[in-house]
Symmetry: C2
């Protein structure tokens, strides 16, 4: 007897070993980990969520436990629309929102709705590891476009779009994962001009958008190209991730309809209890004040980490200066390999992730992702010191 | 601009219109609906779940809201193993269990791990509508095997397995959806003999297994062919469906590993809050006593419905006599079409679902699915009467 696994799970996997590094680091209390991307639990409104849960059971009883609609809870979708209006000057109606089981699920469903094997997808280079993973399951051809300090390289993008007719484009314009970079408004305007009228659906992922602690937000692609863009959002970074509640928003009716039908086939609907709890929490609390708690922590941690990098790292090391989000992106001096530094750093008690799994093609490079959201000031100071020692030893 | 949707969502869809019937029926309070498959909310332990939720927040605080492992909560997986031992004489260890976002998600993930376009899958004829939907997204070739009063037709199955090398087989041996039929032990033994050593993974779906109110359970395929079977389970019918917590169990290590990696790519993990609440509920309550509440309701409803069918239906109408679960399966007299009866019955105020969407190929037939789990005795009496009037009018 030999089971017949699909091509999609037997193709080459260059990311699994790096995910193992993250997981092992998280499980080993003797290590300081800058490898993952966990929100800081000090920012979780545990008491208020508990109260919201009680209210849900009291007010809604069995309805919090019964099957529900694939599109998700209407009052929650209404609140998402209000936030889009307030935060991003975007007009959506609740029927343009579908709730998902975290925003990771949105990537899987969009891929299912859009991608046939061999279809083209434009990706930032580098991009979010778990997005690469889910896209790979649909076996598209990846077209990568480099990131610069001002966001995606629009010259490269224009050249790619001239030659190709991609089905999808996936971007994270705010505090990108892994680089921490943010697109300037000029880049956004240029990108919109390039993409306008093309048969390419733009997935704009924005998990960190509200975690801005410096600078000014630019416009969403949904502002320029509403019918051609689908926005992915999540409560993971503004309330808490463990409940797995995210959403998509789009003005494209055909896409919306196909998305909702597909959603119902993958898990019927997202936990209605979790949706109701988050809805009640948003109704009874000032979520903006709560987001400030997270921003304050991340701002302090980012500043501590940048200061420690300046203090300990040798001259040839550079890093991005984030305006929000959870990550720094470090470039090592020429001649060093990120994977070597990763292993050397583990020996010294700190886990920093080599950039390799964030690249579709360019492995063996000298970039590393450093997470600061979930560490104490002491861990940041000592961890960066150990990281710097590892770098210097290998120079 | 024209988006480029995938083949899987643009292929012919013969089920959507029937799902619309179910949804519209559920939304219209003037109709009695036997169309859906909702558990009876009287069986939901609302107060006990509320208490469990409070205890989770008190005992675990932020850990109930943080990211977690793809495999799911260990104590919950331990309890699932205990129940397999007690209820089905099956030995599993917690590392052989992966928690899923409802058992619908398990079907999607297994399909993703196993199916390439054109691969063969053996299906009961008819089978679960939403399983057909999710399988269709992977564009396999369906090999259908008829159901008889003793379960799957083993002669047909043997003939199919002689000619083909299917990747998957999907079965619901207990109180099958839609037919309500249960495989006899003899059928199970024969089926195991036929499937033994074949390169076919058997998905045994068992959402209703614990809702037995008559007869005696047969052995699971996992008992005969542990390495070749994956079991799908769910808390939807023994606790409540709205939290979307299910699981898979298999002894096949390679499958387990691929399943868990794939699971992490589709939604990272299932709501840890919901997993903790169900775990706490199981720890503090006698879930078997709670299942008795549901069984009592379903037994009474099934008996009332069978009595009403005997009373009102003309002679040519036959129906299955379920030993558990939620459905009767009605066969109309020759010459009638189920879809015609469906529309006539709606005019008379009752929604009964034509069997068509449960068949991969054989549409336009004369079978109908009738749900009894979520109706009052009055609705059952009046609804069956109206259903019978519709049948008689069309004869």
């Amino acid at each position: 007897m030999e089971l017949q696994f699909s091509k999609r799970v037997t193709q080459e996997d260059f990311q699994g070993e790096f995910i193992d590094v993250i997981l092992k680091a998280a499980a080993d209390p003797s290590l300081t980990s800058f490898a993952g991307g966990l929100p800081n639990p000090q920012s979780f409104p545990v008491e208020a969520v508990k109260e919201a849960a009680n209210k849900v059971f009291e007010n809604f009883g069995y309805r919090a436990l019964q099957y529900n609609a694939a599109e998700g809870l209407l009052p929650l979708r209404e609140k998402i629309c209000q936030r889009y209006k307030e935060q991003m000057d975007l007009d959506y109606t609740p029927d343009e929102i579908v709730i998902t089981t975290g925003s990771q699920q949105a990537l899987d469903i969009i891929s299912g709705v859009m991608l046939d094997e061999g279809d083209e997808i434009v990706l930032e280079n580098p991009t979010y590891l778990a997005a690469l993973q889910v896209f790979h399951h649909y076996m598209p051809k990846a077209l990568t476009v480099d990131l610069t300090d001002t966001g995606i390289n629009t010259d490269q993008l224009a050249a790619v779009m001239e030659k190709h007719d991609p089905t999808l484009m996936y971007i994270i314009p705010n505090f990108q994962n892994p680089t921490g970079l943010t697109y300037t408004e000029e880049t956004r305007v240029k990108m919109a001009e390039i993409m306008k009228g093309k048969n390419t659906l733009i997935i704009e992922d924005n998990p960190y958008g509200e975690l801005r602690f410096a600078g000014k937000a630019g416009h969403s692609m949904a502002y320029f190209l509403p019918e051609q863009t689908i926005l992915n959002g999540t409560f993971s970074k503004i309330v808490a991730p463990g409940m797995r509640v995210g959403w998509v928003a789009t003005k494209n009716k055909e896409l919306l309809e196909k998305f909702a039908v597909y959603k119902s086939s993958v898990d019927l609907h997202t936990s209605i209890l979790d949706q109701m709890i988050i809805n009640q929490y948003l109704e009874d609390n000032d979520v903006n004040a709560q987001v400030e708690v997270a921003k304050e922590i991340y701002k302090n941690n980012a500043e501590l980490m940048m200061a420690a990098m300046e203090k300990y790292m040798p001259k040839g090391v550079t890093f991005t200066k984030p305006e929000g989000g959870m990550f720094l992106w470090v470039t090592l001096p020429e001649g060093l390999k990120a994977v070597d530094v990763q292993f050397k750093a583990v020996e010294k008690g700190v886990v920093v992730l080599a950039g390799d799994p964030f690249y579709e093609y360019d492995h063996g490079g000298r970039t590393m992702r450093v997470n600061y959201s979930n560490s104490t000031p002491e861990q940041i100071e000592q961890g960066v010191k150990a990281f710097a020692e590892a770098v210097i030893e290998l120079m």
